[in-house]
Assembly symmetry: C2
Homo-oligomer: 358 residues x 2
């Protein structure tokens, strides 16, 4: 990937009024832990004065929210070199309301890092501001040129590690967070595990191996995924490689995930589900219904892979509703069901050891 | 799509010794019928002096094969304005052996049309030759910029036509040809049918609606597909829209097809299969086995779509082997099985009328 900052680099993370929403998942990922960026401050006029972690999930993390860079710097705080756009806007485009803050950062000579599909470096006004102020624009999703892309070769079948995919029944359902929890828990338990990022937040968190799935030309998705896994295997010789899923197998807005099972040879799957949702995210008006866990497990089995655990996201349910669903689902399935945010994932480490590594 | 020639434009089609091979599928498509290009001559040193159709499938089509443009023009034949690269080279890149012929065409002021991933317009030597000779380079697979791409919206659910996908168990298995046969047969039988192209050959054949699946950024595949189908529905109000499949659902080099069922809302599928193949194309050394027809039908059913007919490609089998397989498969399935090249597809028109349109 392009333009790696010295790691970890101090950053201001901009969320434009969305810090408490799923749209701010890039910021949330940075607050939960990043080897690439260390958030000094979150910039969000709506939540100024609070702790960013407390706004996100009720747990303070010592990162303050300020309305603007000017206010943050006016109090004599350090000037971070990086300004990270921490929100994934609907449609992948930059709302006009964000421009003043980005122009301000560029005028101060900062490097603006953005994971939107809309490429800020191609925007004449922003590019001019970068030149004038000495700042830079880094577009994480800028597509790689074809000459730098790799076709699938089958080298995946020669690696030493076992590959596990963390898929989900929907977008924005917690796949990356569960994948990160599993990665941490495996390493704490003495399993040499690595994690492959597949989205812009994973890149921002500083994982060394991965690619940005949705900004890759379709013909090269399998090859880039294989290349990331094989490079990880060769460089680190892990026992286990966990692959962050993207999207969902049945999401009509852009089905994803079979590449991880087939091109990435993930024969074992951890499946993340949000039982409080009835339709795919942002498709409430269309009424496109989410599958049940059993339907998704059957689809995964039809591809020749096997779900070894189900993980639950409690969004939209209170804890008693979630627990009731959890108990009911567990009674129907012969694989473990856990709530990672409540239970952690230690139980799944044993499952991976028994079902995947033995 | 960019740079539409006046239709149909006279063209020389270049196959570089591969006219009899599957790699020449772009040329084969043009010989079978194109609204965009009319092949005057095929350029192929290996088959010079023969009829191109006869080399392709034993049926002469009145298009001669010459070794070079120089020989063709030296006999006083007309100078076509277009030079079409009629082969899909392995890896999507241009072999060095092709450069002299392309440079010659550019020196003569011709427009070179190419569907490879490697973009000829970005090649300094070829670009310089185009400038010097007054020729042009048109790269069909040049990715569209993000600003011209479309996300999926769900507008697919509001169209008037029924959508049928022509999927296959492998790449290069005859999906486009079967799709074209079905389109022709439906219209002959009085069904107003349209066809959506999804590959570079379909573009070259001049279908007005479609996009190039494999050269599209992954996040926009569903939206571009939906956009092509909706535009077709709005412009022509057909009863039936047939969508050419790409790749195969289980091909590890790049699984494809669920987008057609989900983003394109194709609830009915015609499934093309080559029983003479045991592994995916070009994966003989890896031994990645093709699914059986029944396994693929089960996977399609797991997505909520239904196979309404199976079509067979006899590659690698003699007619008695193919007929034996055909009879055996038909005895196990309750949907019709046909060999389009032997039987035509008239029987499938009745199936579409009964199962899809009624």
């Amino acid at each position: 990937m392009m333009d790696l900052p010295p790691i970890p680099a101090a950053a201001a993370v901009f969320t434009n009024g969305l810090l408490d929403r799923d749209f701010a998942k890039t910021c949330h990922g940075l607050l939960r832990g990043s080897a690439r960026f260390r958030p000094l401050v979150v910039l969000d006029r709506k939540f100024a004065g609070r702790d960013a972690g407390e706004v996100m999930d009720g747990r303070p993390r010592g990162v303050p929210v300020y309305a603007t860079l000017e206010e943050w710097l006016g109090e004599g705080n350090p000037n971070p070199s990086y300004f990270v756009v921490g929100v994934a806007f609907s449609g992948g485009r930059l709302p006009a309301s964000c421009r003043p803050d980005i122009l301000d950062a560029l005028a101060r000579g900062m490097t603006v890092v953005c994971g939107l599909h809309q490429l800020l470096g191609d925007d004449p006004e922003l590019a001019a501001a970068a030149r004038a102020g000495g700042g830079r624009l880094v577009d994480i999703r800028r597509p790689k040129p074809v000459a730098h892309l790799r076709f699938w070769t089958g080298s995946i079948y020669g690696i030493g590690a076992q590959v596990v995919g963390v898929l989900g029944t929907d977008c924005a359902v917690g796949k990356r967070t569960t994948c990160r929890f599993l990665w941490e828990a495996c390493n704490q338990a003495g399993i040499r595990a690595e994690m492959i990022y597949t989205g812009q937040t994973g890149w921002m968190q500083g994982y060394p191996f991965g690619f940005i799935f949705d900004a890759t030309l379709n013909d090269f998705v399998g090859g880039e995924l294989e290349g990331a896994i094989v490079a990880c295997d060769q460089a680190t010789s892990p026992e286990l490689i966990l692959v962050e899923g993207q999207g969902a197998l049945r999401n009509p807005s852009g089905p994803c995930g079979s590449e991880i099972m087939l091109s990435g040879n993930a024969r074992h799957i951890v499946l993340q589900h949000a039982p409080g949702r009835s339709t795919f995210v942002d498709q409430e008006a269309l009424g496109t219904r989410l599958p049940t866990v059993e339907q998704e497990m059957a689809l995964i089995a039809a591809y020749g892979s096997r779900v070894v655990a189900v993980t639950l996201n409690g969004e939209g349910m209170d804890s008693s509703q979630l627990d009731a669903y959890h108990n009911d689902l567990q009674s129907r399935l012969d694989v473990p069901v856990v709530q990672p945010l409540r239970d952690g994932v230690a139980r799944l480490v044993d499952v991976l050891r028994t079902e995947v590594l033995s």
